[in-house]
């Protein structure tokens, strides 16, 4: 088991690094006090990203009456979340393209799950008792399950054993079963990837603690609870990653961090579904995405 864990950590060390622009964009977007001008400053130094952003905003999906050639206007129009999704799709395509065979998942399932979690986490973060930057919650959601792409191949062939162990109640949840088989679960693998990519601490915390939000560093705990609940919403609405769907525990202490009612949740499910369809449609119109 220790050797499997070491092999997984070796795989992470070999994952292609994010582009410097992607790293800078995530760092800027993870600061509580960032604004749009900070985002513009990062993008304008990357010619390819500038071109892609302008191409995106001027595509049919945005139905503009006249073309936009100014980067700041283009970013204002597309929105920060859309831009981060675009950058991450391109920067980590080898991970998002993974078919999650070890989870009996399908190609594109991880991207859909992370995207829906991001959209839900953003809306849930707006209900946080402590102020949380909703855009950071979005990005945390977008990245939270990347560890699954890393460990998926190592889980191949263990699925029956893993599900049996869960059904016998030997493990509290799917992450526990992953750790029992591999010596590492997808949240730990995700955290190692976050370190390899030099991601900001709030995002690394969302990747590491989204199934154990109470263990997140105090300053990021509300944020991580938002991602934890966003993850639940994504699974509840069927945007899951395969065999692990619904096989995690809800941390019911969320109520101390997020002021959410039954009606709020139902409204979030409705709105997130609608946001998801719009965003997917716009991104699918982009060549190469």
């Amino acid at each position: 088991m220790a050797s499997t864990r070491n092999n997984i950590l070796k795989v992470i060390e070999e994952v292609k690094l994010l582009s410097p622009s992607a790293v800078r964009l995530l760092a800027v977007a993870s600061r509580e006090d960032h604004d749009l001008k900070d985002i513009v400053r990062v993008i304008k130094h990357d010619a390819a990203l500038t071109a892609k952003t302008l191409q995106l905003v001027n595509s049919a999906a945005f139905s503009l009456q006249s073309k936009i050639s100014d980067l700041e206007r283009a970013i204002t129009y597309s929105g920060e979340n859309f831009l981060i999704s675009l950058v991450m799709t391109e920067a980590a395509d080898m991970i998002y393209d993974c078919d999650l065979a070890g989870y009996d998942g399908h190609k594109g399932g991880l991207w859909d799950h992370n995207l829906l979690t991001a959209l839900a986490a953003k809306r849930i973060a707006a209900l946080s008792k402590e102020p949380v930057n909703t855009n950071i919650a979005y990005t945390g959601g977008l990245l939270h399950d990347l560890g699954k792409a890393i460990i998926s191949d190592f889980l191949k062939g263990s699925l029956t054993q893993l599900l049996a162990s869960l059904e016998k109640g030997e493990m509290p949840d799917y992450a526990g079963a992953e750790e029992k088989i591999l010596g590492i679960d997808h949240t730990q693998a995700g955290y190692a990837l976050a370190c390899h990519w030099n991601l900001p601490e709030p995002l690394a915390s969302a990747m590491r603690y989204h199934h154990e939000p109470a263990k997140a560093p105090k300053e990021y705990r509300s944020l991580v609870y938002a991602v934890h609940l966003g993850d639940m919403v994504a699974m509840m609405t069927g945007r899951d990653t395969g065999a692990d769907a619904m096989r995690y525990q809800l941390d019911d202490n969320y109520i101390d961090f997020i002021k959410i009612t039954e009606n709020d949740l139902a409204q979030i499910i409705l709105d997130t579904d609608s946001d998801f369809c719009t965003l997917k449609e716009s991104m699918e119109e982009q060549p190469g995405i």
Binding site: D104, A243, M246, A266
Partner: protein, 133 residues
């Protein structure tokens, strides 16, 4: 959650995928996509099937339900699966129909396939063999 209605006489089969129990939350959405809610989805499905010639009304239909995976939430907010099951059963009951078979609750996602040819309902879940409802 999936609600499947089968009218044996005409062999008309219908299915609706319900996400939430009540449409009062967003009547405009219910107008646009009635299947999203239990209280508008089931009546819409019955109407569509009757328009296809399912005579005798809903009492002549066989109902099957599947889904509603459980999330344990003592705060009673995230257990929508359980609320969906209750809402669906209540509405079917109002039509005088009770599910002939059901596969509900638990902690797994389910995919439902219905054969319009023979009315057979097949369930699947990642990592498991298919099974018949």
């Amino acid at each position: 959650m999936a609600v499947i209605l089968i009218h044996p006489k005409t062999r008309v089969v219908g299915m609706v995928h319900i996400a939430l129990p009540e449409s009062t939350l967003n009547p405009a959405k219910a107008q646009d996509k009635p299947g999203y809610f239990a209280d508008t989805g089931i009546p819409a499905l019955i109407r569509e099937m009757m328009a296809l010639g399912c005579s005798g009304g809903p009492k002549q239909m066989v109902a099957k339900i599947a889904g509603g995976a459980k999330i344990m939430d003592p705060n009673n907010i995230f257990n929508i699966g359980t609320r969906n099951v209750l809402a669906i059963k209540k509405i079917l009951w109002k039509y005088g129909v009770s599910p002939r078979t059901e596969d509900i609750g638990g902690t797994m996602s389910r995919t439902v396939t219905v054969s319009a040819r023979n009315g057979r309902v097949i369930l699947s879940s990642p990592g498991k063999e298919e099974w018949r409802l």
